[in-house]
């Protein structure tokens, strides 16, 4: 049986660390390694920051939705905003591409997600918001301790 949670919160940048620990606490039920947990938290930060600064242009009264499902040794993560959306996804996922160079963005958000997760899917259209679906498999527990 799978275990699911969904959390929705205001698009305020102080909620980024709240989102990180909420997902981390939920995922901790699978008892991943610290490295795996750090990777998940980093990905959550990147996606939530993108929703706030790109999707909502720093408007504070909007909502971000995260949903997380645990299946055996796999976690599925969906991060969603109702913001401006992405016009050209192929361009957006290029390493170093950023539409906000003035904010000293690194343009590495999507690259980090692709590196740390096993599957990344981006569903986005102008004015229809952005949904990022991510899947990560955890290594099966080290056999030594069974």
């Amino acid at each position: 049986m799978s275990n699911t949670m969904t959390v929705e919160f205001s698009s305020i940048s102080s909620n980024e660390s709240f989102a990180r620990v909420t997902v981390a606490a939920f995922v901790s039920q699978l008892d991943p390694t610290m490295d795996e947990l750090t990777e998940i938290k980093t990905v959550v930060s990147e996606a939530v920051t993108n929703a706030i600064i790109h999707g909502y242009n720093d408007q504070h009264d909007k909502k971000i939705l995260i949903s997380c499902t645990l299946n055996d040794d796999e976690v599925e993560l969906i991060i969603q905003d109702d913001g401006v959306g992405i016009d050209n996804i192929d361009e957006a996922i290029q390493p170093l591409f950023t539409s906000k160079p003035e904010l000293e963005r690194s343009g590495m958000g999507f690259t980090i997600m692709e590196n740390f997760m096993d599957k990344v899917e981006i569903i986005s259209n102008p004015d229809q918001g952005t949904t990022i679906k991510l899947i990560k498999q955890f290594k099966k527990s080290k056999t030594l301790c069974n």
């Binding site: 990180r20 620990v21 606490a25 901790s28 991943p32 390694t33 610290m34 030594l144 301790c145």
Partner: protein, 77 residues
């Protein structure tokens, strides 16, 4: 045995349950210490500052320290 020890010392590959529990113990000690010093319990930010952790990390580790040991750990200890 060498293999196992290396596995335990290499922080990143340690299971979350174990690593957070260690942080949880540090948190408990520091909290008691600050409570004595200040004559009241510290706020979460005061504790976070003293431990150089984020408030959220403190919340997560405190909870992990409270949970019963996993089978994984019992075998190792």
């Amino acid at each position: 045995i060498g293999e196992i020890q290396r596995f335990i010392r290499d922080d990143g590959s340690v299971k979350v349950s174990r690593s957070l529990k260690e942080i949880g113990n540090r948190i408990r000690k520091k909290k008691d210490e600050l409570t004595k010093d200040m004559g009241r319990t510290p706020t979460i930010n005061e504790l976070a500052l003293a431990l150089e952790l984020s408030p959220e990390e403190i919340v997560h580790a405190q909870e992990a320290a409270r949970l019963p040991h996993s089978i994984h750990e019992t075998v190792y200890e």
